[in-house]
Symmetry: C2
Subunit: 197 residues, 2 copies
C-alpha cells in the first residue's frame, strides 16, 4: 500500500538489530520529515562507510584508513593492553578518562552455543603484541561466555612473561544490596578490601 520507494526504505530499516515492522515504519516517517540536505548527507555516508573503515591491524579497534587513534598516540602507556570484547567497550572505558594504556578488541566472546571458537576471535594478533607489554588487563563482561573467554585468555597468556589482571567484579556503584544477584554478591564478598582511612 505504501509507495514502492517508501516500502523499500522500511525494509532496509528492518535490517537494524531489534527493529521490527512498527519501528521501521516510525523511522521511515521520521526520515521523510527530515530535510533534503540531511538525507543526502546520511545517504552518502552510508554508501561510503565501508570504504575507509577497517579494524586496526594492531589492536582491532575500528579505525580509518589504518590510522588507529589509540595505537598511534605516543602519549599513551604502550606497555599495558586492555582486552575487551567489542569496539563499544573501548568507548565506554575511554569515557572514564582513567585508563591510558592500549586496547585489544576481540570482536566477540567464545561461545560454544553460538559456535564461536578462539580462532574466530582477534586473539592471535594479541600474542604478537606481548614482547613490549608488561600488563594485560582482561575487561570482558562477566557473562557465562565472557567467563569462558577470560579463562581461556588467562590460560593462554600464562605461558608468556606478562602480568595478567582482571577488572574487579562486585556490586555496581549506587546499586542496592538486596536487588543484587547472588553471583554478584559472592564476587563482591570474595573481592572485599580493607577500608582505606
Amino acid at each position: 500500500m505504501y509507495p514502492e520507494s517508501f516500502a523499500r526504505l522500511i525494509n532496509y530499516l528492518k535490517h537494524l538489530p531489534g527493529v521490527g515492522e512498527k519501528s521501521a515504519q516510525r523511522y521511515a516517517f521520521a526520515l521523510l520529515a527530515e530535510d533534503e540536505d540531511y538525507l543526502k548527507a546520511f545517504g552518502e555516508t552510508l554508501e561510503k562507510i565501508k570504504e575507509d573503515i577497517a579494524p586496526c591491524p594492531n589492536c582491532g579497534f575500528i579505525s580509518q584508513k589504518g590510522h588507529c587513534p589509540i595505537c598511534d598516540d605516543v602519549m599513551r602507556d604502550h606497555e599495558s593492553i586492555m582486552v575487551v570484547s567489542y569496539d563499544q567497550d573501548v568507548i565506554a572505558m575511554e569515557k572514564t578518562n582513567t585508563y591510558h594504556g592500549l586496547y585489544h578488541v576481540l570482536h566477540g566472546v567464545i561461545s560454544s552455543s553460538k559456535g564461536v571458537y578462539p580462532e574466530d576471535l582477534n586473539i592471535e594478533s594479541l600474542l604478537n603484541r606481548l614482547d613490549s607489554t608488561k600488563e594485560i588487563i582482561i575487561a570482558i563482561s562477566p557473562t557465562i561466555d565472557g567467563e569462558t573467554t577470560a579463562l581461556y585468555l588467562d590460560k593462554l597468556l600464562k605461558r608468556h612473561d606478562v602480568l595478567v589482571t582482571r577488572i574487579a567484579h562486585g556490586l555496581p556503584m549506587g546499586a542496592s544490596l538486596d536487588y543484587a544477584d547472588e553471583l554478584t554478591l559472592i564476587q563482591a564478598l570474595r573481592n572485599r578490601k580493607k577500608m582505606e582511612d
Copy 2:
C-alpha cells in the same frame, strides 16, 4: 574516538525517534557489517526518498508522484471516507481486509498542549470531498487529544448532509477485564449490544 565518518553515521542515526547514543552505536555497527550492495541501495533510497513521495492531494495518504493507490482504485466504495490521524493507521486498517471505502489522513491530532490547531491539520480538504460522500467514519485513537479532534470534526461535519459515525471503543479482543482501565470499561458498558443468536 571513532573514525570521523563512523561518528557521523552515529549522529545521523540519533535523529531517529527514540534512538539514543547506545542504540545509534549498535545500529551503526550493524550497518558496517552489511554488504556494500545493501548499503549502496539503502543510501540511494534515502537520498531520493523525498523526490517522488508526497501526500495525495485528495486524501493526504503518502503516495508516489500523485498516484494514490486508494483514491485511484475504482473497485473501492467512493461514498465512504474513514478519517484517521496518521498514514500508519491506513495500513493498520487495510490489514483487516474489512474496510473498502476511502480514507482521509489528518496528519496529527488537535493538541492545545503541543500547539496543534485545526488549521495545522489536513481538515479543509475533507470538506471539499463531502459532496460525493454518504458516510464519514471517524477512526481516531481515543486519547485526550484524539477525543478533542473527534468532537471537533463531529461538530464541523454536522453542518453538512453526511452521516458521521465513529468506530467502537471497548474491551480489546483477548484482553482481561480486571486489567482494563476504568474509562475503557465505562465505554464498553455504554456500548453494550444485544447478544446475537
